[in-house]
Subunit: 222 residues, 2 copies
């Protein structure tokens, strides 16, 4: 969760200017998340981001070569969090993996700025000329392939029903996650995102598991 | 489908300048769809939209009071199409309604510019300060309420299982539609959007219908 505000305070590591540089870089990334979320890529301005960080545009360009570089760095950092979260969980069953996916949605519900940025950027990246179009196209292909592999492993070990259309199920799961994020940002008080995702994955799993069982009850929210 | 290119040609109605005015208004709306899709609201410019229409910014302001007015007019027009499509279909069963929803997705697959605009604008409207935030919040509430009513009617007449969580099912359907639109814009050749939606609704309906039957096979794409 590298965007957490506490990351912006340099650690007392004795690394001197390196720690100051790391802190400044983190501060720029945090600030860029808010700007891209609110204004989108095209209407965001490096000068205004720098100003909000209390540095000059030249100082910002010392850390990021261009607005495109800052955009892709922000996206890479947010993906890194997701990957660490998903890959740190157990993969011995589809049910266990789905529990990790719900936990990730619970993380996201505590990071509205990141979710807002994600929704804004993935929406505008549908245009082939957008600087993150290629990034998102590849990110979706990666996430889809990962989910399909996990489901196919579930079929192979007899957890899921033979003949399960793993790509259809994986695409559906990704779609529900993205769509719930949209609904949540528009009406956060009306949508319990991790609970809705849990309900969906539970019903989905009952439909495709050999035993007909779904997900264990979700852990209560922190 | 008011954004169709043929709408920009004035009809030979003999209405004279009214017809010219209608055609110009339609041309501005078509052009705005493309600009909002590519640049988002904030980076779109009335001057550039007017220029692409071959008129002055003053000429554009004769039809739309402001960029916010143009934005909300574009959104209202796209919603109008959806409403006419969905309400023209039969509502005697949830299965029939779902067939209409799949037909709407097939419409959308023929209107990538509109889908791209939708994804861009709904993404950035997650920010409470966005000029379409209130519009989208209310649009989602309307669509959700409509879907919940149809599902509850299905339960009441014995088509759907008693105890079906209609709000959960309706939110899931909306989420899958939005999420598939994102996947489709990023990789149109890899995602058959209406077919994926049909597959999802078919599985969903098998799970909640009393008879355990799903959707009839989709009509072949036009």
């Amino acid at each position: 969760m590298a965007q957490d505000k506490e990351r912006t305070a340099p650690k007392a590591t004795g690394r001197g200017t390196y720690a100051v540089g790391d802190a400044r870089r983190a501060k720029i990334l945090d600030t860029a998340v808010e700007h891209f979320a609110q204004w989108g890529f095209h209407a965001s301005s490096l000068a205004r981001i720098a100003n909000d960080c209390g540095i000059t545009q030249g100082g910002l360009l010392h850390h990021f070569r261009s607005k495109e570089d800052l955009l892709l760095s922000v996206l890479a950092q947010s993906e890194q969090h997701d990957v660490e979260r998903l890959f740190s969980g157990p993969e011995e069953s589809v049910a266990a993996y789905y529990a990790t996916v719900v936990a990730l949605a619970a993380d996201n519900a505590r990071r509205p700025g990141l979710v807002r940025m994600y929704n804004t950027l993935v929406g505008e990246s549908g245009h082939a000329g957008h600087p993150a179009h290629e990034y998102f196209t590849q990110r979706y292909a990666r996430v889809l392939a990962h989910n399909v592999r996990l489901l196919e492993a579930g079929v192979a070990r007899g957890e899921l029903r033979p003949g399960t259309d793993c790509e259809a199920v994986a695409r559906e799961t990704l779609a529900v996650m993205d769509g719930l994020q949209i609904q949540w940002m528009l009406a956060p008080e009306a949508v319990d995102m991790p609970a809705r995702l849990h309900g969906y994955l539970d019903r989905q799993l009952r439909g495709i598991s050999v035993s007909g069982t779904g997900l264990p009850a979700a852990a209560p929210s922190a």
